[in-house]
Amino acid sequence: MTPPHSFADDNLPAQPEVLLVDDDEVNLLLTALALRDRGFRVTEVDSGERALERLAEWTPDVVVLDAMMPGLDGFATCRALRSMSGFENIPVLMLTGLDDDASIARAYQAGATDFFVKATQWGLLAGRLQYLLRASRTRIELERSKAKLARAQDLARMGSFDWRRIEGGLAMSAEGLRVFGHGPTDRMTLRSLLRMVPKDGRRTLMRHLHEVLRDSSVLKRDVPIMLFDGRERIIHVEAEPEFNEHGHSTGYTGIVQDVTDRRVAEDRIRHLANFDALTGLPNRRQLIWRAERALEHARRLQHQFALLLIDLDRFKIINDTLGHAAGDELLMEVARRLRGCVRHSDQVLDVAMEAAGARSHRVLEAVGRLGGDEFVALLPEVGDDRDAERVAQRVLEVMREPIFVSGQECFVTASVGVAIYPRDGTTVLDLMRNSDVAMYSVKAQGKNAAAIYGPQLAGQGREKLELETALHKAIERDELVLHYQPKVDVRTAKMVGAEALMRWQRGDRLVMPGDFIPLAEETGLIVPLSEWALREAARQARAWQQSFGFADAIAVNLPSRLFERSDLIEHIHHCVTSVGVPHRVIMLEITEGQLMKDLQNVIPALHRLNEIGVEIAIDDFGTGYSSLAYLTTLPISELKIDIQFVRDLGHTPQSSAVVSAIIALARSLGLRVIAEGVENLRQMEVLHRLGCAIMQGYLFSRPIPPDEIERWLEQTVLPRKAPWIGQAGALEFGTDAARAAGARPY
């Protein structure tokens, strides 16, 4: 229970301190007694002079002054204390006699907060003091929050105003004046404000203001103005109408705020969200937005529109060889040229759309960048295919000129796929996809051309898309497997190594490398695929080592781009050490063609691989145009005679000439030589006679799963049951005999 005179709930001091000043001792005593009884702490003094003395060193919560006192009376005391610093706002209650109107007026003049007619009803006095204290507290809080508001408004570049219809006109707060670049004492009228609005905006603003006033509606608008120093700002004005008791609108009250920075930021954000930072062209989002508008328009007006997907053909090579900065430079130039191929509009605003009327869709025309080296040309209205084709040809045309980047002349071509609404799709998504299909068909047929979508293309594209998606997941789903084809030394009839070949177990179908490796190369998936193959080959080497003492190498095919990766060595190292086999169990095969193409980039890796014990074989040897000079210096260990020469052995004299030349070359360079694709005894015989004893082919074994390799060894090689074994034993020993030495159980 709270006592009746508690101040706790008023958020006031528990015991407010009162300075009581009265010359009459009886009143002083009685008033003090009464107030103490009601929870006040009372300090009594009997004259104005004493009161001021006390106040010099102490601040009560409230002062109660008797008006009539000898010496310094209440009025003079009040005036004096008001002039003391810190007492400007202290509540002062003046005690006056009954019917003393003059004293009441004088009390207020002297700065008293309120008066109280002396009476013997003490409860009334206490109540009045509580009220004064509460009002004073509220006033302090109000002052504080006013100060806070002013500061907040200042920070927010905001101010408030009032506008009266009849008299008074515009009253702008100091903060509001500052928003308009005025000082706090300047005057502003509605007229002077309107003069700050540039002429072209003034008329529409006036019209808007008239409408708002006529309807007494809410005013909410961004107004561009020009300050007196010439700076342009955008002021947000928001005001609500005020009404009198008869319901008539009397004026407006509201705020003004400088929102220039916000608007600039918003515009910037909108631009960033819709335009490509590198080329300044509309980005994917903006393109799709425009395409959607174009589609709506075409549907409504029943005309066609075209979407051209433009993909640069050799961009990746340029990016990889000249670096990203050069790539960016090139893209900027391409963007500049493509822009010239259409009636490109940079900005599309809703207003612009409205203003342009029936031909408004023309402003949608643009070239944009989808990302990477992919661009789109949007033609919002085409009469027929030929319109789109003309633009496509123009695109191919502008690319013919060489582009200078990083001081080099680059030639870039493009593949263009065209889809036309409504024939090739009725949604933007369909049109994008089908232009992509058409573009891919161009790529497949040799690039640097344009094609219009046709349903016959669809299957290919979709199949490919599905394949790509599935291949992405093949590794994580463990769908890839390695099959192995043994390398055989026919003199000893023993396995001297194996080549790992990748297979994709896709559902119940085994997909051959020819069906997915090109796609993997194109999409870059070849990297994780190859890395997986290395890991798997190392694991298999370890398994074979344990099961039958395998100590040779498993050859893994790698594309040249893998050799350019700086982490290849580290990866191989990790693969072999994690399963505990030496580095030499991995052998790498690179085709002659790839090696020669990227020779400079590949050589450093070859040296380093050689240093750690990983041997390199050149695959398909004889098909490329190897520089013999290079061959002498390359750190390679093995040449693999291409399958086509082996196939023709015994049929054409040229092939045996080539084969013997290769063998002679290998011998002179100290390299091993191995023949691939050996299918019959006759080929084997010829090869052996020419000096090649290590072979690989269906004659010995197809590529088979690893566990079948073990069975093959057990059931065919060890019992020496195969036809080639007897044959081999009958052959003369070739010059490679030394290499095949070593008694192994297989």
Binding site: E25, V26, T120, W122
Partner: protein
């Protein structure tokens, strides 16, 4: 409360705060000539019962001796004012008389000396308005009423 300054011979006694003793017996001087109708009429108290009741409310169980403190303060105050009133009357200082009347007006009302309060009110009003004809008579009237109230207060204090 401070001890009252003793000045003119007419003032018979000076009293200390809180002493509820007859002034006459202390001073040993003759009491001033004063009609004491209230006293001999079995002290029909000149103090208003309602006002006294309000005073009692300030100290319902009388623990703090509020009533006696107030009454003795009032008595001392009246004695002091009476001296000042007499002096002012001799000087024919109307403004001073008005100020004294003003002071007595509210304190006497507080204690319930309503007749004195009213007398003070009209005296103050006529003096301030400049309508007072006979200052010595007015002062005499006031003094007489003060004496009566003093007697009543002393009676209360003795009781």
């Amino acid at each position: 409360m401070k001890p009252l300054a003793q000045s003119k011979g007419e003032i018979p006694s000076a009293q200390h705060e809180g002493t509820a003793v007859n002034a006459t017996s202390i001073s040993g001087r003759p009491e001033p000539a004063m009609p004491a109708p209230a006293m001999d009429a079995g002290a029909p108290c000149r103090l208003d019962e309602q006002a006294l009741a309000r005073l009692r409310e300030l100290d319902p169980d009388g623990r703090h001796g509020v009533m006696s403190r107030v009454l003795s303060t009032f008595e001392a105050s009246l004695l002091r004012l009476l001296v000042q009133l007499t002096e002012a009357g001799e000087r024919a200082d109307g403004a001073a008389v008005a100020a004294l009347a003003h002071t007595m007006k509210s304190s006497s009302a507080s204690v319930g000396a309503l007749a004195l309060s009213e007398l003070c009110t009209s005296a103050e009003r006529s003096l301030r308005a400049g309508t007072a004809q006979d200052l010595p008579a007015l002062v005499r009237g006031l003094s007489a009423e003060v004496q009566q109230v003093l007697a009543a207060v002393r009676a209360m204090l003795r009781a």
